[in-house]
């Protein structure tokens, strides 16, 4: 691991009204560590080592978005450690259900789109 860069840079897009929870801004750039605590704790200070780690996945990203980007009403975004039912997730334009959902291992430059279907039609 020591030869690799230790952060991952991602492009995040919100749609379908979900952007309203994120400063009403649709497009965000996010940088997360490539290795993350197994308990999804996103508030470790730089340099402090978590006791147990795993490669960064989408589940960790969701916690990161909730803890650092979400501005209001977190219950409308996450439930039971994943996105609330009714929020669609695309990984590089592919339905996350085909990519292992939360277990998908993130790569530098990945584009993650989150769209709410819960808003009025």
């Amino acid at each position: 691991m020591s030869t690799e860069t230790n952060t991952i840079s991602l492009k995040i897009e919100f749609g379908g009204g979900l952007e309203l929870l994120f400063s009403n801004q649709r497009s965000h750039r996010v940088t997360i560590p490539s290795t993350v605590p197994v308990d999804n704790n996103t508030s470790l200070t730089k340099g402090a080592a978590a006791s147990a780690t795993r490669p960064a996945d989408v589940t960790y990203l969701l916690h990161h978005l909730r803890d650092h980007l979400l501005k209001e009403r977190q219950e409308l975004f996450m439930e039971n450690g994943t996105v609330r039912p009714g929020i669609l997730v695309l990984i590089n334009d592919t339905d996350w259900e085909l990519e292992g959902e939360g277990e998908y291992l993130l790569k530098d430059g990945d584009e993650i789109v989150l769209i709410s279907t819960l808003h009025g039609g």
Partner: protein, 354 residues
């Protein structure tokens, strides 16, 4: 996870898992199956005939935006021979409907369809903002629902169309089935899964997206980069529907076929004739000519309450008695223009209601 190939064409990379079938398919096959299923829904129910003038109830939201796009596509591809219109109702809700109507105006350009916008203000002399300032936030959805239904019919009559299609999708219908069960509303349960309703008025209403999952509608809009507007109405947490919706989404997460299964259950219920016959015979509103089950239609009743400063008289019996005690409606009361059905012919009382 290794990329999967499309279960249909066996060539391209799968990009979507269909909730209805679990199939993993590519983008182009998804467009094809989504469109062909709507086409099959339309043809199996014989919804249209060549030359029909059809209004698409357009809110600027995802469902009606995708509906307008798909109706235009299918009309051209399968030569339905329809004349399509966009019909929008402006409820007069600042910061909500005014923004979504901008989306509908863009759709008018993008899809090259005539657009009619009819406002509550124009028809009833009241915007929803004004109604809420008088009645508060408790019963305002009653006003909005009654006024919208009649406004859509009147807008359709102005366009001289006799058929309105709406963007109600499979999730909406499954929610309605659940709500009718939970409320014990067996008469509505018996008819809420119908693809086409005609009652209260002479204008038909159909739901071509009856079997289309919300997930697929949103994915379709995303992959096609369609321009839609999404925000919640600022006045309306429809609390009961909200609970049904959350429950349904939880069911769907556990078993994606739940939505289509619930619709199937709704369709399979056999409602006894005595239950169906509990509805009152339709008549014509004495004041505005719209279909009604009483001497005055619901919209005229609500409007009279607003105009006389007793808005609740259309909602509770107690407030109604108080209004009646103050005497008959004054002669100069504001009224809704007299309703003329699109055919120009007389309204015929039809017993079944939507």
């Amino acid at each position: 996870m290794a990329p999967q190939t499309c279960a249909l064409c066996q060539k391209a990379k799968a990009m979507l898992k269909r909730p209805k079938t679990g199939q993993q398919i590519c983008r182009d096959c998804f467009f094809y199956v989504f469109e062909i299923e709507v086409h099959n829904t339309i043809t199996q129910a014989n919804l249209f005939k060549p030359g029909d003038r059809v209004a698409i109830g357009a809110s600027g939201g995802k469902d009606s935006t995708v509906l307008a796009y798909v109706m235009k596509t299918l009309n051209e591809r399968y030569q339905y021979g329809l004349e399509l219109f966009l019909l929008s109702i402006d409820e007069g809700i600042t910061g909500y409907r005014d923004d979504s109507l901008e989306t509908v105006k863009r759709n008018q350009q993008q899809y090259d369809m005539p657009l009619k916008i009819l406002s509550y203000d124009e028809l009833y002399g009241w915007t929803m903002d004004a109604i809420v300032s008088q009645v508060g936030r408790k019963n305002n959805c009653t006003f909005c629902g009654v006024f919208r239904r009649q406004a859509l019919d009147r807008g359709a009559a102005m366009l001289n169309v006799d058929h309105i299609v709406t963007g109600h999708n499979a999730d909406d219908i499954a929610e309605t089935v659940l709500m009718n069960i939970m409320r014990g509303d067996i008469a509505r349960l018996g008819r809420c899964t119908s693809i086409c309703t005609q009652g209260e008025d002479t204008i038909r209403r159909s739901k071509p997206f009856k079997y289309a999952y919300e997930k697929e509608i949103v994915m379709y809009a995303y992959f096609k980069k369609l321009d839609y507007f999404s925000t919640e109405c600022i006045y309306s947490p429809d609390a009961y529907r909200g609970h049904a919706r959350v429950f349904l989404k939880d069911l769907e997460a556990a078993r994606p076929s739940a939505i289509i299964d619930i619709i199937h259950s709704g369709e399979a219920f056999e409602v006894r004739e005595e239950v169906k016959a509990t509805q009152r015979v339709q008549q014509i509103c004495q004041r505005c000519g719209y279909m009604s089950s009483n001497a005055l239609c619901k919209a005229c009743t609500l409007l009279e309450g607003l105009e006389r400063g007793m808005a609740n008289s259309g909602i509770t019996d107690r407030a109604r008695k108080k209004l009646d005690a103050e005497g008959p409606a004054p002669d100069n009361l504001r009224m809704i223009p007299f309703f003329k059905p699109p055919s120009g012919g007389p309204l015929i009382a039809i017993e079944s209601v939507s």
